[in-house]
Symmetry: C2
Subunit: 138 residues, 2 copies
DNA sequence: GTGAATGCAAAACCTTTGCAACTGG
DNA sequence: CCAGTTGCAAAGGTTTTGCATTCAC
Protein backbone atom coordinates (compact mmCIF):
# COMPACT_ATOMS: atom_id res chain seq x y z
CA UNK A 1 0.00 0.00 0.00
CA UNK A 2 2.93 2.32 0.75
CA UNK A 3 3.68 2.73 -2.92
CA UNK A 4 0.02 3.42 -3.67
CA UNK A 5 0.16 6.53 -1.52
CA UNK A 6 2.47 8.20 -3.98
CA UNK A 7 5.33 9.26 -1.78
CA UNK A 8 3.26 10.18 1.23
CA UNK A 9 4.16 8.77 4.64
CA UNK A 10 2.89 5.41 5.73
CA UNK A 11 1.62 5.88 9.25
CA UNK A 12 0.05 3.38 11.63
CA UNK A 13 -3.22 5.27 11.32
CA UNK A 14 -3.29 5.10 7.55
CA UNK A 15 -2.62 1.39 7.52
CA UNK A 16 -5.23 0.84 10.20
CA UNK A 17 -7.98 2.88 8.54
CA UNK A 18 -7.35 1.12 5.26
CA UNK A 19 -7.50 -2.30 6.94
CA UNK A 20 -10.73 -1.36 8.70
CA UNK A 21 -12.35 -0.17 5.48
CA UNK A 22 -11.40 -3.48 3.87
CA UNK A 23 -12.62 -5.47 6.87
CA UNK A 24 -15.97 -3.66 6.94
CA UNK A 25 -16.33 -3.33 3.19
CA UNK A 26 -19.40 -5.58 2.96
CA UNK A 27 -21.30 -3.02 5.03
CA UNK A 28 -19.94 0.04 3.19
CA UNK A 29 -19.00 1.78 6.45
CA UNK A 30 -19.38 5.48 7.14
CA UNK A 31 -16.55 7.55 8.61
CA UNK A 32 -17.94 7.16 12.09
CA UNK A 33 -18.30 3.39 11.76
CA UNK A 34 -14.70 3.23 10.62
CA UNK A 35 -13.79 5.44 13.56
CA UNK A 36 -15.53 3.19 16.08
CA UNK A 37 -13.75 0.09 14.85
CA UNK A 38 -10.43 1.87 14.46
CA UNK A 39 -10.69 3.33 17.94
CA UNK A 40 -11.29 -0.15 19.33
CA UNK A 41 -8.05 -1.28 17.72
CA UNK A 42 -6.11 1.93 18.41
CA UNK A 43 -7.73 3.92 21.23
CA UNK A 44 -5.64 7.01 20.60
CA UNK A 45 -6.86 7.57 17.05
CA UNK A 46 -9.01 10.65 16.49
CA UNK A 47 -12.06 11.17 14.32
CA UNK A 48 -10.31 13.97 12.46
CA UNK A 49 -7.52 11.60 11.54
CA UNK A 50 -10.02 9.07 10.25
CA UNK A 51 -11.52 11.77 8.05
CA UNK A 52 -8.09 12.90 6.93
CA UNK A 53 -6.99 9.40 6.09
CA UNK A 54 -10.21 8.58 4.25
CA UNK A 55 -9.67 11.67 2.17
CA UNK A 56 -6.06 10.79 1.51
CA UNK A 57 -6.96 7.25 0.48
CA UNK A 58 -9.77 8.52 -1.73
CA UNK A 59 -7.47 10.99 -3.44
CA UNK A 60 -4.87 8.29 -3.91
CA UNK A 61 -7.57 6.24 -5.63
CA UNK A 62 -7.25 3.37 -3.14
CA UNK A 63 -10.82 3.62 -1.91
CA UNK A 64 -14.01 5.19 -3.21
CA UNK A 65 -16.32 7.60 -1.46
CA UNK A 66 -19.97 6.70 -1.92
CA UNK A 67 -22.69 9.30 -1.46
CA UNK A 68 -26.38 8.71 -1.47
CA UNK A 69 -28.78 11.54 -0.94
CA UNK A 70 -27.62 13.53 2.08
CA UNK A 71 -26.64 10.59 4.21
CA UNK A 72 -23.17 10.29 5.64
CA UNK A 73 -20.59 9.25 3.05
CA UNK A 74 -19.67 5.61 2.90
CA UNK A 75 -16.34 4.20 1.81
CA UNK A 76 -15.50 1.15 -0.20
CA UNK A 77 -12.30 -0.46 -1.42
CA UNK A 78 -13.91 -1.83 -4.59
CA UNK A 79 -12.10 -0.14 -7.42
CA UNK A 80 -13.95 -1.80 -10.28
CA UNK A 81 -16.52 0.38 -12.00
CA UNK A 82 -19.68 -0.27 -10.05
CA UNK A 83 -22.89 1.30 -8.84
CA UNK A 84 -24.58 1.04 -5.46
CA UNK A 85 -27.93 -0.32 -4.51
CA UNK A 86 -29.49 0.85 -1.24
CA UNK A 87 -32.27 -1.25 0.21
CA UNK A 88 -34.93 0.96 1.76
CA UNK A 89 -36.11 -1.89 3.92
CA UNK A 90 -32.96 -3.33 5.50
CA UNK A 91 -30.76 -0.27 4.94
CA UNK A 92 -27.95 -2.30 3.46
CA UNK A 93 -25.81 -1.31 0.50
CA UNK A 94 -24.73 -3.61 -2.30
CA UNK A 95 -22.22 -3.18 -5.06
CA UNK A 96 -23.69 -3.55 -8.53
CA UNK A 97 -21.19 -4.40 -11.24
CA UNK A 98 -21.11 -2.97 -14.70
CA UNK A 99 -22.03 -5.63 -17.27
CA UNK A 100 -19.27 -6.95 -19.51
CA UNK A 101 -18.47 -4.48 -22.27
CA UNK A 102 -21.30 -2.22 -21.11
CA UNK A 103 -21.02 1.56 -21.05
CA UNK A 104 -22.69 3.25 -18.11
CA UNK A 105 -23.16 6.43 -20.12
CA UNK A 106 -24.81 4.70 -23.07
CA UNK A 107 -28.45 5.31 -22.07
CA UNK A 108 -27.79 9.03 -21.66
CA UNK A 109 -28.05 11.64 -24.33
CA UNK A 110 -24.92 13.61 -23.51
CA UNK A 111 -24.26 16.85 -25.37
CA UNK A 112 -21.55 16.44 -27.99
CA UNK A 113 -18.11 17.23 -26.71
CA UNK A 114 -18.65 16.61 -23.00
CA UNK A 115 -15.83 14.87 -21.22
CA UNK A 116 -16.94 12.59 -18.40
CA UNK A 117 -14.36 12.18 -15.70
CA UNK A 118 -16.49 10.43 -13.15
CA UNK A 119 -19.89 8.86 -13.00
CA UNK A 120 -21.92 8.18 -9.94
CA UNK A 121 -24.83 5.78 -10.02
CA UNK A 122 -26.98 4.98 -7.02
CA UNK A 123 -30.24 3.08 -6.89
CA UNK A 124 -32.78 2.81 -4.12
CA UNK A 125 -35.32 0.06 -3.80
CA UNK A 126 -35.93 -3.31 -2.23
CA UNK A 127 -33.28 -5.98 -2.29
CA UNK A 128 -34.06 -9.59 -3.32
CA UNK A 129 -33.74 -10.85 0.27
CA UNK A 130 -36.29 -8.37 1.57
CA UNK A 131 -38.69 -9.05 -1.28
CA UNK A 132 -38.58 -12.74 -0.50
CA UNK A 133 -39.18 -12.02 3.16
CA UNK A 134 -42.15 -9.83 2.20
CA UNK A 135 -43.65 -12.50 -0.03
CA UNK A 136 -43.39 -15.02 2.75
CA UNK A 137 -44.92 -12.78 5.41
CA UNK A 138 -47.26 -10.68 3.33
CA UNK B 1 -50.35 23.73 -8.87
CA UNK B 2 -52.88 23.71 -6.02
CA UNK B 3 -54.25 20.38 -7.14
CA UNK B 4 -50.73 18.95 -7.39
CA UNK B 5 -50.26 19.49 -3.69
CA UNK B 6 -52.82 16.86 -2.91
CA UNK B 7 -55.14 18.69 -0.57
CA UNK B 8 -52.48 20.67 1.22
CA UNK B 9 -52.87 24.42 1.55
CA UNK B 10 -51.74 26.75 -1.15
CA UNK B 11 -49.85 29.50 0.63
CA UNK B 12 -48.09 32.54 -0.76
CA UNK B 13 -44.79 31.01 0.28
CA UNK B 14 -45.40 27.75 -1.54
CA UNK B 15 -46.37 29.49 -4.74
CA UNK B 16 -43.38 31.79 -4.46
CA UNK B 17 -40.83 29.07 -3.81
CA UNK B 18 -42.16 27.03 -6.70
CA UNK B 19 -42.01 30.05 -9.01
CA UNK B 20 -38.45 30.80 -7.94
CA UNK B 21 -37.34 27.21 -8.54
CA UNK B 22 -38.83 27.39 -12.02
CA UNK B 23 -37.28 30.79 -12.66
CA UNK B 24 -33.84 29.65 -11.56
CA UNK B 25 -34.11 26.14 -12.95
CA UNK B 26 -31.33 26.59 -15.53
CA UNK B 27 -28.89 27.04 -12.66
CA UNK B 28 -30.26 24.20 -10.53
CA UNK B 29 -30.47 26.39 -7.43
CA UNK B 30 -29.66 25.29 -3.91
CA UNK B 31 -32.00 26.00 -1.00
CA UNK B 32 -30.04 29.08 -0.05
CA UNK B 33 -30.08 30.44 -3.61
CA UNK B 34 -33.83 29.94 -3.68
CA UNK B 35 -34.00 31.66 -0.29
CA UNK B 36 -32.04 34.69 -1.47
CA UNK B 37 -34.27 35.22 -4.47
CA UNK B 38 -37.45 34.47 -2.53
CA UNK B 39 -36.43 36.87 0.23
CA UNK B 40 -35.91 39.58 -2.35
CA UNK B 41 -39.47 39.06 -3.53
CA UNK B 42 -40.97 38.46 -0.08
CA UNK B 43 -38.69 39.86 2.64
CA UNK B 44 -40.58 38.14 5.44
CA UNK B 45 -39.96 34.59 4.22
CA UNK B 46 -37.67 32.46 6.34
CA UNK B 47 -35.04 29.94 5.37
CA UNK B 48 -36.82 27.23 7.34
CA UNK B 49 -39.93 27.82 5.29
CA UNK B 50 -37.95 27.54 2.10
CA UNK B 51 -36.62 24.18 3.29
CA UNK B 52 -40.10 23.09 4.36
CA UNK B 53 -41.64 24.06 1.07
CA UNK B 54 -38.89 22.44 -0.96
CA UNK B 55 -39.49 19.24 0.97
CA UNK B 56 -43.25 19.49 0.46
CA UNK B 57 -42.85 20.07 -3.26
CA UNK B 58 -40.38 17.22 -3.53
CA UNK B 59 -42.72 14.85 -1.72
CA UNK B 60 -45.58 15.97 -3.92
CA UNK B 61 -43.42 15.06 -6.91
CA UNK B 62 -43.54 18.60 -8.33
CA UNK B 63 -39.80 19.14 -8.13
CA UNK B 64 -36.76 16.89 -7.79
CA UNK B 65 -33.98 17.07 -5.25
CA UNK B 66 -30.55 16.64 -6.82
CA UNK B 67 -27.59 15.57 -4.75
CA UNK B 68 -24.01 15.43 -5.86
CA UNK B 69 -21.27 14.39 -3.49
CA UNK B 70 -21.72 16.26 -0.24
CA UNK B 71 -22.60 19.57 -1.76
CA UNK B 72 -25.81 21.36 -0.85
CA UNK B 73 -28.86 19.82 -2.52
CA UNK B 74 -30.10 21.45 -5.67
CA UNK B 75 -33.68 21.52 -6.86
CA UNK B 76 -35.12 21.19 -10.31
CA UNK B 77 -38.63 21.24 -11.77
CA UNK B 78 -37.69 18.83 -14.59
CA UNK B 79 -39.80 15.76 -14.00
CA UNK B 80 -38.61 13.76 -17.00
CA UNK B 81 -36.19 10.97 -16.20
CA UNK B 82 -32.83 12.64 -16.46
CA UNK B 83 -29.31 12.66 -15.08
CA UNK B 84 -27.10 15.58 -14.13
CA UNK B 85 -23.77 16.68 -15.47
CA UNK B 86 -21.57 18.87 -13.27
CA UNK B 87 -18.81 20.79 -14.97
CA UNK B 88 -15.72 20.88 -12.76
CA UNK B 89 -14.48 23.96 -14.53
CA UNK B 90 -17.44 26.35 -14.62
CA UNK B 91 -19.40 24.69 -11.80
CA UNK B 92 -22.61 24.60 -13.76
CA UNK B 93 -25.10 21.78 -13.83
CA UNK B 94 -26.86 20.45 -16.91
CA UNK B 95 -29.76 18.09 -17.31
CA UNK B 96 -28.95 15.02 -19.38
CA UNK B 97 -31.95 13.27 -20.88
CA UNK B 98 -32.45 9.57 -21.10
CA UNK B 99 -32.28 8.42 -24.72
CA UNK B 100 -35.49 7.32 -26.42
CA UNK B 101 -36.49 3.84 -25.29
CA UNK B 102 -33.29 3.53 -23.26
CA UNK B 103 -33.17 1.91 -19.84
CA UNK B 104 -30.86 3.58 -17.34
CA UNK B 105 -30.40 0.31 -15.47
CA UNK B 106 -29.46 -1.71 -18.56
CA UNK B 107 -25.67 -1.47 -18.20
CA UNK B 108 -25.85 -2.72 -14.63
CA UNK B 109 -25.76 -6.31 -13.53
CA UNK B 110 -28.47 -6.16 -10.88
CA UNK B 111 -29.09 -9.21 -8.72
CA UNK B 112 -32.22 -11.08 -9.76
CA UNK B 113 -35.30 -9.97 -7.94
CA UNK B 114 -34.21 -6.46 -6.95
CA UNK B 115 -36.88 -3.80 -7.24
CA UNK B 116 -35.56 -0.38 -8.22
CA UNK B 117 -37.70 2.48 -6.98
CA UNK B 118 -35.38 5.30 -7.77
CA UNK B 119 -32.17 5.83 -9.68
CA UNK B 120 -29.73 8.62 -9.30
CA UNK B 121 -27.15 9.36 -11.95
CA UNK B 122 -24.61 12.14 -11.72
CA UNK B 123 -21.60 12.78 -13.89
CA UNK B 124 -18.65 15.08 -13.33
CA UNK B 125 -16.39 16.33 -16.03
CA UNK B 126 -15.83 19.18 -18.45
CA UNK B 127 -18.71 20.62 -20.41
CA UNK B 128 -18.48 21.27 -24.16
CA UNK B 129 -18.31 25.06 -23.66
CA UNK B 130 -15.34 24.80 -21.32
CA UNK B 131 -13.54 22.32 -23.56
CA UNK B 132 -13.87 24.69 -26.47
CA UNK B 133 -12.58 27.54 -24.35
CA UNK B 134 -9.63 25.36 -23.30
CA UNK B 135 -8.80 24.46 -26.89
CA UNK B 136 -8.84 28.10 -27.88
CA UNK B 137 -6.63 29.27 -24.99
CA UNK B 138 -4.52 26.20 -24.38
C1' DG C 1 16.32 16.84 12.35
C1' DT C 2 12.37 18.39 9.87
C1' DG C 3 8.32 18.61 7.41
C1' DA C 4 4.32 15.88 7.32
C1' DA C 5 0.71 13.74 10.03
C1' DT C 6 -1.77 13.43 14.26
C1' DG C 7 -5.10 14.61 18.15
C1' DC C 8 -8.00 17.74 20.15
C1' DA C 9 -11.42 21.12 20.31
C1' DA C 10 -13.78 24.46 18.06
C1' DA C 11 -16.03 25.93 13.97
C1' DA C 12 -18.35 25.45 9.57
C1' DC C 13 -21.85 23.87 6.88
C1' DC C 14 -26.38 22.34 5.50
C1' DT C 15 -30.54 20.97 7.30
C1' DT C 16 -34.09 19.96 10.84
C1' DT C 17 -36.81 20.96 14.87
C1' DG C 18 -39.70 23.16 18.71
C1' DC C 19 -42.83 26.35 19.51
C1' DA C 20 -45.61 30.56 19.54
C1' DA C 21 -48.00 33.37 16.18
C1' DC C 22 -50.52 33.53 12.03
C1' DT C 23 -53.66 32.26 8.09
C1' DG C 24 -56.08 29.75 4.33
C1' DG C 25 -60.22 27.23 3.39
C1' DC D 1 -62.71 28.79 13.43
C1' DC D 2 -58.63 25.81 13.82
C1' DA D 3 -55.52 22.50 11.81
C1' DG D 4 -51.92 23.42 8.92
C1' DT D 5 -48.21 26.65 7.97
C1' DT D 6 -45.03 30.11 9.06
C1' DG D 7 -40.89 32.59 11.25
C1' DC D 8 -37.49 32.54 14.46
C1' DA D 9 -33.86 30.73 16.97
C1' DA D 10 -31.68 26.99 18.61
C1' DA D 11 -29.98 22.35 17.85
C1' DG D 12 -28.67 18.45 14.88
C1' DG D 13 -25.30 15.57 12.31
C1' DT D 14 -21.43 15.41 9.29
C1' DT D 15 -17.25 17.22 7.94
C1' DT D 16 -13.42 20.64 8.13
C1' DT D 17 -10.03 23.53 10.33
C1' DG D 18 -6.31 25.64 13.45
C1' DC D 19 -2.71 24.66 16.07
C1' DA D 20 0.47 22.49 19.26
C1' DT D 21 2.54 17.92 19.58
C1' DT D 22 4.38 13.78 17.67
C1' DC D 23 6.46 10.84 14.36
C1' DA D 24 8.19 8.76 9.80
C1' DC D 25 11.75 9.10 6.96
Amino acid sequence: MAEMLGGQRMTKQRRLVFDVVKELSPTHPTASTVYERAKYLMPSISLATVYNVLETLTEAGIITQVNIDREASRFCPNLHPHAHFFCDQCDSVFDVDLRERADAAEPWNLPNGSLIEQMNVAMRGICPECREKNDATG
